[in-house]
């Protein structure tokens, strides 16, 4: 296991994650269009919409119920998770190389990411 091979593995995992996320978003999109194809849309004024789930729990529940919003949000969450996973895997990779400086560096980045995402939980 060296730098290059580790990174190739990480890259492939990321692509798989993106594809899975896209599949879920696509499913949500399909549900959305089936239900709302003819609805008039107006995105001119930003206002946080009450119906859209924004907490992790709300998103999971909505997705499990096959609601379009929940499914799409779940796919988006999975997409957002891919770079976070990349950083987490880098922490592990540096650990395996016994590179303590970079275990710390990447752990700091991971902490910032987790902090940011916990705000949405």
């Amino acid at each position: 296991m060296n730098d290059q091979r580790l990174e190739v593995m990480i890259g492939r995992l990321l692509q798989a994650g993106v594809l899975l996320a896209a599949a879920i978003v696509f499913a949500g999109g399909a549900v959305y269009l089936v239900q709302h194809a003819d609805a008039k849309v107006d995105f001119r004024h930003f206002a946080a919409r009450p119906g859209v789930p924004r907490t992790f729990r709300g998103i999971f529940q909505s997705a499990a119920a096959f609601e379009s919003e929940g499914l799409i949000q779940l796919g988006l969450l999975l997409l957002i998770a891919t770079p976070v996973a990349r950083v987490a895997m880098a922490v592990v990779g540096f650990f395996m190389e016994r590179d303590w400086l970079y275990v710390t560096v990447s752990a700091i980045v991971l902490a910032v990411l987790v902090f940011s995402l916990m705000r949405a939980a």
Partner: protein, 278 residues
């Protein structure tokens, strides 16, 4: 317009954005945000949320391709990401505070810089073959393939690069863009890192930076599923096609056309922002 028409139009526009982005290295917000706000009347904050999603999609989607070539430097990326992620969280908080008009003007200014950057030339004249003291201690240097063999390179001016990266992160969080162009400038010009290493490392970084803003954007409600969905799917599809076309594309010509187009969009964004129309 109806949801169906809107979704279809956004998918097509996003596919173009993804396609051009894969070819020129500029993408995501640069095309998506003006298209959504100016052409489709979408509120700037919702456009920013959708753009952020597209940045992550292109970064992670292209990840395997960049790594396999052996250019990107994960240590440089990780170290600088400390600055960009903190900047991104700060920028994302500010985005909730500024009005859309202000954001539109700032975005327009950033677009002008991007347009300039696209044609003004890529490379710094000098390359560092060895690292300075701080960079050596941080082991930031590496090797990259040049004509079949590995050439070593060093890194310089780490504090300056770090500072610029904080700014790049803040812009990313503030506007929902990738700030890839700024990151490449910081690495290529300030830190004297070889261009291809800079661009590939930037591609890895923009996804991480965008993820740092994403949590804040989600909690503010900037990410609207009905807009983010077609943007994400369109950009992914377009980027996939674009990276295939890369071998045959007249990249130089494309960049010039691209720069002219986004220059014009930049002016429109600024005017609309000042005029209160965005």
């Amino acid at each position: 317009m109806t949801a169906l028409v809107f979704t279809f139009v956004v998918v097509v526009v996003s596919a173009v954005a993804g396609f051009l982005g894969a070819l020129t290295g500029l993408g995501g917000g640069v095309v998506v945000i003006p298209a959504l706000t100016l052409a489709l009347g979408v509120d700037m904050k919702i456009a920013m949320g959708a753009s952020l999603v597209s940045v992550i999609a292109t970064s992670s989607g292209a990840a395997a391709a960049y790594v396999r070539e052996g250019f990107s430097n994960i240590r440089i990326g990780m170290f600088l990401e400390i600055a960009t992620t903190v900047g991104a969280v700060a920028g994302a908080f500010l985005a909730g505070r500024f009005s859309t008009h202000v954001l539109a003007v700032i975005f327009g200014l950033v677009l002008i810089q991007s347009a300039w950057q696209t044609v003004a030339g890529d490379h710094a004249a000098t390359r560092a073959s060895s690292s300075d003291k701080l960079a050596s201690r941080l082991r930031l240097g590496g090797e990259y393939p040049v004509e079949g063999e590995k050439r070593a390179y060093g890194v310089r001016n780490v504090p300056a690069g770090f500072g610029i990266m904080f700014g790049a992160g803040a812009l990313s969080g503030l506007l929902g863009i990738g700030s890839g162009a700024v990151k490449v400038i910081a690495m290529d010009r300030a830190m004297k890192i070889p261009f291809k290493v800079s661009t590939t490392t930037s591609n890895f970084m923009i996804g991480v930076t965008a993820a740092a803003s994403a949590g804040v954007y989600l909690s503010h409600g900037f990410i609207d599923p009905r807009v983010a969905m077609p943007v994400m799917l369109g950009v992914l599809g377009g980027a996939l096609l674009g990276s295939r076309a890369l071998v045959h594309a007249p990249v130089r010509t494309l960049r010039i056309v691209f720069a002219v187009v986004i220059g014009a969009l930049a002016i429109e964004m600024i005017v609309s922002g000042i005029g209160g129309k965005v």
